[in-house]
């Protein structure tokens, strides 16, 4: 099958989970002998065309800008369309696959121009990200999301909770939506990591506890609740160190919260870290906390499970489907520092139980979440619309 994929995020332009999802899916499709042409935006230092493990990647340069975000999105969609127009004459696509509303304008144009079916993967919604629609831009994005779902021949989401959310919020027909969970590349996590050396680099001494939190520094990730839990964790585990990996617009606010916690000298914000460094830290940590308040899937929990770190996560959205409470990880209440303290203490105070959780998690991971399986299920969706 010849697939035209549109996404605003693709490595090295990595912001959230979309880039990783598109990379994993595209490479797995190629391994199953499908042809993937992926159209995305440029990023400093990246070529305008390259092949990545057989995936043909075309990057569009946005030659015009505008301070307003929505206007900028419309402009970059034009350049994405232009980049794609160079290719459609020589490739007879079977299906267009659009990821999220940001690339929808371009995808919808080509759907009509080429008379080809369009599949849309909804990774999250504006109403979920912003926990409501609080600005004119939010209302507009919400409308574009509806439009993209309306135009799509089929819609894919990564969890049952996302299916519930979009069918409820957008009145989408239940049978138009397929649930295909995210996955991870398990081979990435099988490399040797020198835990002692990694911990030393981050100033975590022998016998000290390393408590890790990974995510974009935005409110939906709930990192503020983790920071609020730190004083009570530090009381019980005075030797604990806390590392927060990620970048985001609310970093200043979270750093201020950390300073106000009275435990600032034990908290490190690393900023954005490479995939390998995330793996190094997860493998070296004693517990991974995922305190999200909105999470369509929660790929970070899978990554943690793959590295063998015990995962303590909010019971929200897709996380509720990824983790089995007290079997493959621990659930805590969302927006509850007290509950986060409980979860971390449960793991740190009973190493045997923590080890059991991680063994169960690894077993479940290998059975349920592979890109190969995601690609096969996605092709089934493609077949439905092509036929």
């Amino acid at each position: 099958m010849k697939v035209g994929t549109l996404t605003w995020e693709f490595p090295p332009r990595v912001v959230g989970g979309i880039a990783r999802h598109c990379e994993g899916l595209a490479k797995a499709l190629v391994q199953q002998n499908h042809e993937v042409h992926l159209f995305t935006l440029d990023f400093p230092g990246s070529p305008s065309y390259e092949e990545m493990d057989g995936v043909k990647v075309y990057r569009a340069s946005t030659e015009l800008g505008h301070p307003n975000f929505l206007t900028w999105v419309l402009l970059f969609n034009h350049f994405l369309t232009k980049r794609m127009a160079d290719v459609v004459h020589s490739v007879d696509f079977d299906v267009m696959h659009v990821h999220d509303w940001l690339a929808a304008f371009s995808g919808i144009s080509f759907k009509h121009y080429l008379k080809k079916p369009m599949v849309l993967t909804v990774h999250s919604t504006e109403v979920g990200r912003a926990q409501g629609l609080h600005s004119p831009d939010s209302f507009s994005i919400n409308g574009i999301e509806w439009w993209a779902m309306y135009e799509a021949d089929r819609v894919i989401v990564c969890s049952q909770s996302m299916k519930n959310e979009i069918c409820d919020h957008f009145n989408l027909p239940w049978d138009k939506v397929d649930v295909i969970p995210n996955a991870i590349d398990a081979t990435k996590y099988q490399t040797f990591v020198d835990r002692g050396s990694v911990r030393q680099r981050y100033g975590v001494g022998y016998g000290e506890k390393l408590i890790l939190c990974v995510g974009r520094l935005v409110p939906q990730k709930g990192i503020e609740y983790f920071i609020r839990a730190i004083p009570n964790i530090a009381k019980r585990y005075p030797e604990a160190k806390f590392i927060i990996i990620g970048e985001g617009w609310s970093r200043d606010i979270l750093e201020a919260e950390a300073r106000a916690s009275g435990q600032n000298r034990k908290i490190q914000f690393t900023g954005f870290a490479s995939d390998q460094e995330v793996i190094n830290l997860m493998t070296s940590a004693d517990v991974l906390v995922v305190p999200s308040v909105y999470e369509p899937f929660g790929i970070v929990a899978l990554e943690g499970m793959a590295t063998g770190v015990p995962v303590v996560a909010s019971q929200v959205g897709g996380l509720s489907e990824v983790i089995e409470h007290d079997r493959t990880g621990l659930f805590v209440f969302p927006r509850s520092p007290e509950s986060i303290v409980w979860g971390i203490d449960r793991v740190l105070s009973d190493p045997d139980h923590a080890k059991w959780l991680t063994e169960n998690a690894k077993e479940k991971l290998h059975k349920a979440y592979s890109w190969e399986a995601v690609a096969m299920k996605t092709v089934e969706v493609y077949r439905k619309v092509v036929e």
Partner: protein
């Protein structure tokens, strides 16, 4: 950080420094070949040059922007961390 601020609108209530970072991204100042002078940034953002200079200096100190001198004029653009910070708003 109170509950009411947890999901505030990023368009209406952002501090000027973050607002400037977003604008620099959206108008395309994302690499050295697309860097802009204070005058150009001022025209786009309608912020006065002295205020702009203060915010830009802070963004540089935090690693989100960088500047270089070209033909006796300072020009500014975002770093990769700056780009990621902006994109986190929308992803």
């Amino acid at each position: 950080m109170g509950e009411n601020h947890s999901f505030r609108s990023y368009n209406d209530e952002q501090p000027n420094q973050l607002r400037l970072l977003i604008m620099l991204h959206n108008i395309g100042a994302t690499e050295s070949s697309k860097s802009l002078t204070i005058k150009q940034i001022s025209e786009w953002t309608r912020m006065e040059a002295p205020e702009l200079q203060i915010h830009l200096q802070k963004l540089i100190e935090r690693g989100y922007a960088q500047s270089f001198r070209s033909e006796e004029i300072d020009k500014y653009h975002l770093t990769i961390d700056g780009i990621r910070k902006v994109l986190s708003l929308y992803s």
